[in-house]
Symmetry: none
Subunit: 204 residues, 2 copies
DNA sequence: TACAAACGTGCGTGATAACGTACAGATATG
DNA sequence: CATATCTGTACGTTATCACGCACGTTTGTA
């Protein structure tokens, strides 16, 4: 069971869209602190000329120089950069979740398609008598991946390499997801569970 | 990324403790992802020659190039830098029991303490008016870790770097867990949610 | 008003980042 | 074993970072 890996997008979340954003940020912080270019130059150890070029977006400073500038503004470099990165928090509202259904198997993606996200969280509902592992739903994942399933409601059966494992409400199970497996609902009530799949060891 | 200090002022406090630490970090991450220098060059748009120099600490790349390298590693530059900045306290549960409570916060570990497990899944109940992040519960996790929370019942508030995010039942949220955060229940009914925390990047 | 000081930026220059090419060693393959 | 391919790095070249100096403009002061 699982979702195909999202392909890398042109501008992943958190990447600087334009390094001149950092320059504008430095200028704004410097002015907020009531410093001139020469003031900041003295505090940071970077020349006023360079600071002017950076603020106007005319050059991309090295990490060493950028760290000095951040220090002159009483910040770490990572914190300075974070001010202009895309937001770290991604709230996924219930009605925004990507949902799909295959027969008696209902799937709801709970994690956003962020590049570099090494875990996939999804909610599942299995109607009575239904099972996962239909068309387009591989019984195995990429090598090294692992899965944890948590039963929220009802009864769940994990069939792992042809061995059956009974899970009651509140139980959880962790296993290597790169081996053949699927889930079944043999009861006469729907089963709800959350599946957490970690990225494999080799990422292409 | 070793800058010779012979002609420059000693680096002021607050800068990267060791520029070549970033290079070593890039090398460790690249090898963990099983990439060659040429593989990463293709993904990041930075030449293999340059990557080799950076990893060996022979040069300090510009912010523009460093951002490309980070992107090739599926990271933002600020996260890459954060891995080698001020050491963070690693959260560690005080006892091995699978269930425990702190005031109005009830926690249940759902994943077993398996070696090499790169994800931690836990169920939480917050009584009305309660919050996470009390004594012995650090507001930050190890560098590079990420967290996804799914609201199963009730209303939840995420306070992330002092910004509040409202979540209704069924909503989910994903964020960098190595920055200050905690959860609150401001409603008059209990809140149940599942938290999924991925291992940090610092681990082997 | 005149003058001094402060400010941001253009210009030229040296240092170094960034890359392409080629090499030697390691690894894979028939 | 011989050959091909992959890998990391040395070297030379080009592009650009980083700076000192000087300029024109703005601001402060007597």
């Amino acid at each position: 069971m699982g979702v195909t890996a999202e392909k890398r997008q042109p501008e992943p979340a958190g990447t600087l869209s334009d390094s001149s954003a950092v320059g504008a940020r430095v200028k704004a912080l410097r002015e907020a602190m009531d410093f001139s270019l020469r003031d900041l130059a003295e505090r940071s150890g970077v020349s006023a000329t360079m600071l002017s070029q950076v603020e106007r977006g005319g050059t991309s400073p090295t990490l060493a120089v950028a760290s000095k500038i951040a220090s002159g503004l009483d910040l770490s470099l990572s914190r300075l950069l974070r001010l202009d990165e895309t937001p770290h928090v991604v709230v996924s509202l219930k009605n925004e979740h990507r949902r799909h259904r295959r027969g008696g198997h209902q799937i709801e993606e709970l994690t956003p398609p962020l590049p570099g996200l090494r875990v996939d969280v999804s909610a599942h509902v299995l109607d009575p008598g239904s099972a996962t592992g239909g068309q387009g739903d591989s019984p195995m994942h990429e090598p090294g991946s692992r899965e944890t399933a948590v039963v929220l409601e009802g009864l769940l059966v994990l069939v792992f390499e042809e061995e059956r494992h009974q899970l009651d409400e509140g139980d959880s199970v962790t296993f290597d997801a790169d081996l053949p497996h699927h889930f079944e609902n043999e009861s006469d009530a729907p089963t709800r569970f959350v599946a957490v799949i970690t990225a494999g060891l080799r990422r292409g």
